[in-house]
């Protein structure tokens, strides 16, 4: 089943994400930095990547700074992602 995982931190303190092997990531809170900081280990691993626009704006990050592999969505768009792009979701 297609699993989408919310990533809410920049520093990943354990390897659970790798071991679980989700189909895509949803970057929120401090997880949004994965979408903008060069060299983030996550960007090359997953084909479905989303980042929450409100959390970018909260941190003073322009949408133009987001890596092209990551789709920017707002809360409303995030609801659609959760219901349409994944069959189950989890928060790490």
């Amino acid at each position: 089943m297609k699993l989408g995982v919310f990533v809410s931190d920049y520093t990943l303190v354990n390897d659970t994400l790798d071991r679980v092997g989700p189909d895509g990531l949803i970057l929120v809170a401090n997880g949004v930095y994965h979408a903008t900081i060069k060299g983030s280990a996550l960007l090359g691993k997953y084909s479905k990547l989303y980042v929450l626009s409100e959390d970018l704006a909260t941190r003073g990050i322009e949408a133009s700074a987001v890596d092209s592999k990551v789709k920017v969505v707002d809360y409303s768009g995030l609801v659609d992602v959760v219901f349409n792009d994944f069959e189950k979701i989890a928060w790490l």
Binding site: L3, D15, R19, V20, G21, K88, I89, A90
Partner: protein, 136 residues
């Protein structure tokens, strides 16, 4: 809609916060969920411990003596008593030098169920087959 499978995955160690304990108590609540559901409908949780989540599940805990809190050990024995499936990652026990014989056991209390030590691949299979996954 009959049985809904849920995977409760504990990946944080116990005794710093209450999250790991709440995973267990929420999973145990499957026993009484039927009062809210139609006849024949059930929720079947599988409680899994991976990563650092395996650190605080050994026997011989004194949480009650020191802090007045029911130990994770006792909670896990209750899981066995209510026939809850508990899986512990074999690779992680080995990684942290924890012996499989250190797992709590409730057989003397009359439990039929035992904590099952399984490879991560089996826990991953439980995650895949579950309708919902909850990380703690």
């Amino acid at each position: 809609m009959a049985d809904i499978k849920c995977a409760f995955i504990v990946q944080k160690p116990q005794y710093k916060g209450e999250t790991s304990r709440l995973a267990i108590t929420h999973a145990i609540a499957y026993q009484t969920v039927e009062i809210f559901l139609e006849d024949g409908e059930t929720v079947t949780p599988t409680l899994c411990f991976i990563g650092e989540g395996v650190l605080g599940i050994v026997k011989g805990q004194k949480a009650m003596d020191t802090y007045g809190i029911t130990s994770t050990e006792n909670h896990l024995m209750n899981c066995c008593l209510v026939d809850l499936n508990v899986y512990v990652c074999k690779e992680d026990l080995a990684k942290y030098g924890i012996s499989e014989s250190d797992m709590p056991d409730a057989e003397e209390m009359g439990a039929d169920m035992k904590i099952q030590i399984v490879p991560m691949s089996e826990i991953k299979a439980k995650i895949d087959e579950a309708k919902h996954v909850l990380f703690f």
